[in-house]
């Protein structure tokens, strides 16, 4: 069964993993935000393709939500935040790019091995989607772990959520209500995080979260 439908969804989901890895590779905030917008764009394409092949019109709504909020609203808002905070030239990562990329590859391999074992009797399409979604989630976590700047941690969090949406669309029968509520909770989380960003900035004159360690007296 090597159909074109499978190939296209495979390509889109694989592209999503690739863009997650590209996100690890970026060291400028603006380029990170652009890559994130691309991530969301590919996600919405992937969801729309799933809607088409699963014949599930409600997934189109998810695709549109992903496109509007994640690919347009949030990146634009983050751009503005970065501009207002004046941190667009910050190059920040806790771990070097080389080890991070290696860790990312390890995580992708781990999630593929794990998911292919666990879901051995599932539908191939769902199986492959789940494996990719897990690696996108893990890579999002890795972005959050290896970055010191709060804005890029937010981006990692958002890309993690993209992985969740990918997993949800791969598994058939996810109700629309759940999807919309997840999307909106992410939006709310984004607003809260945005407010927090300005609070952190006000207090410490920087959005480097290591300043928080200093404040708690946990500096090594």
């Amino acid at each position: 069964m090597h159909s074109l439908a499978f190939d296209i969804s495979h390509t889109l989901a694989g592209g999503l993993v690739l863009i997650s890895l590209m996100m690890l590779y970026q060291d400028r905030l603006y380029s990170l935000l652009n890559v994130f917008a691309l991530h969301a764009l590919v996600l919405s394409l992937s969801v729309a393709w799933q809607a088409f092949i699963q014949d599930a019109p409600h997934l189109y709504v998810t695709a549109v939500i992903a496109l509007v909020f994640k690919a347009i609203v949030i990146p634009v808002a983050l751009h503005r935040i970065v501009k207002q905070l004046g941190i667009h030239r910050d190059i920040e990562s806790a771990v070097g790019i080389g080890p991070t990329m290696l860790a990312g590859m390890g995580l992708v391999a781990l999630s593929l091995v794990l998911m292919l074992r666990v879901t051995s009797d599932a539908d191939p399409l769902a199986r492959e989607d789940l494996a990719f979604a897990l690696s996108v989630v893990l890579l999002g976590l890795l972005v959050m772990v290896t970055r010191r700047n709060a804005v890029s941690q937010v981006v990692g969090f958002m890309s993690l959520e993209n992985g969740l949406v990918l997993a949800a669309t791969g598994a058939k029968g996810m109700p629309l209500v759940v999807e919309i509520s997840v999307a909106f909770s992410i939006l709310i989380a984004f607003i809260v995080i945005g407010i927090f960003l300005f609070r952190i900035r006000e207090r410490f004159d920087s959005v480097d979260v290591s300043a928080l360690d200093d404040f708690r007296g946990e500096r090594r």
Partner: protein, 318 residues
């Protein structure tokens, strides 16, 4: 009779790559010059350069050892053999049983090994810089290349180039994200290995940036001609590698008639022209990167190769 025709076709292939290689380089140079609105030298200039170098006297340093003198020939021979193994216009040629991708990588690697040794042989500082940089680039490009080879081998079930090309020309291969990644990674490796612009600038002799040129600075006369021809051949080899694996259309099959061989050769020349144009376009659009950025560039190629290999396990999982 079959053996004789096989030998003839293989001989034509070897001569074809040898004759076309300077033309390809000249063509890329011409397109690059035209793209920045300059006249540029004729596309046949590399041939004239080679002839001029062949006529000139060889100047050797006093302390040059035998290694320095034999290296140009070893390098050229290794690259020529590797180029003869890549199917250019036809698959299933006489030498095909040896046309293993890993063997080609090994041939190119040994050619580079000798060149790096020769760079250090005379003991000038530039040669040392060039060799150390070249080895640094090679140490990163080779694993990336091997991962691409593994990726292709997993798709096609063989590291035999002829079989790979054959398989990819068939309709069994759908849209595969792994192959796309392998293509991009192979392109990056090809740029690094051929010392093209983002990694190294072949047209400069500025000590801060040169890699390949620094190694061969001490060579002159026919030795330099051999090395230059080897470099031209290497560019052609990578272009035909990409063409035969990723654009295998109209490539002639084993034992088909003279007509299909002719069509294959014409298609091959069209592919070369297209690839040369794209290479020139890419090179005029990018700037040379710092030497310390090269590991990141090649790391990305390594990552793409590895990811492509990993993704293959998912797509074959049903």
């Amino acid at each position: 009779m079959v053996v004789i025709s096989d030998i003839i076709v293989q001989g034509v292939q070897m001569l074809l790559v040898l004759l076309l290689a300077p033309l390809l380089t000249g063509y890329v140079r011409k397109i690059k010059a035209r793209l920045v609105r300059r006249q540029g030298a004729s596309v046949f200039q590399p041939y004239r350069d080679l002839l001029r170098l062949l006529r000139k006297e060889v100047v050797l340093a006093d302390n040059a050892s035998w290694l320095f003198r034999v290296t140009p020939y070893i390098t050229f021979a290794a690259i020529w053999v590797a180029a003869a193994l890549v199917p250019t216009f036809a698959t299933g040629l006489l030498f095909n049983w040896t046309a293993d991708l890993i063997a080609i990588v090994a041939l190119l690697g040994s050619a580079r090994f000798f060149l790096a040794l020769a760079g250090m042989d005379v003991g000038t500082s530039f040669g040392g810089i060039g060799s150390s940089r070249e080895v640094m680039i090679a140490a990163l490009a080779e694993p990336a290349m091997l991962l691409i080879v593994f990726c292709l081998a997993l798709v096609a079930g063989s590291t035999q180039l002829s079989t790979v090309s054959h398989f990819l020309a068939s309709s069994y291969v759908g849209l595969r994200v792994s192959l796309g990644m392998a293509l991009v990674a192979l392109f990056m490796v090809a740029i690094a290995e051929n010392a093209r612009i983002p990694v190294d600038n072949p047209a400069t002799h500025l000590e801060l940036t040169m890699v390949h040129e620094a190694m061969i600075l001490e060579y002159s006369g026919r030795h330099l001609a051999m090395i230059e021809l080897g470099a031209f051949l290497k560019l052609l080899l990578y272009v035909s590698l990409i063409a035969c694996v990723f654009l295998p259309w109209q490539i002639a099959l084993y034992g088909s008639g003279a007509l299909s061989y002719t069509i294959g050769a014409a298609a091959y020349i069209v592919k070369l022209a297209l690839a040369g144009f794209l290479l020139a376009l890419f090179e005029t659009a990018t700037a040379k990167m710092r030497v310390f950025r090269v590991p990141q560039f090649l790391g990305a190629a390594l990552m793409l190769g590895l990811l492509g290999t990993l993704l293959l396990f998912v797509s074959r999982s049903f």
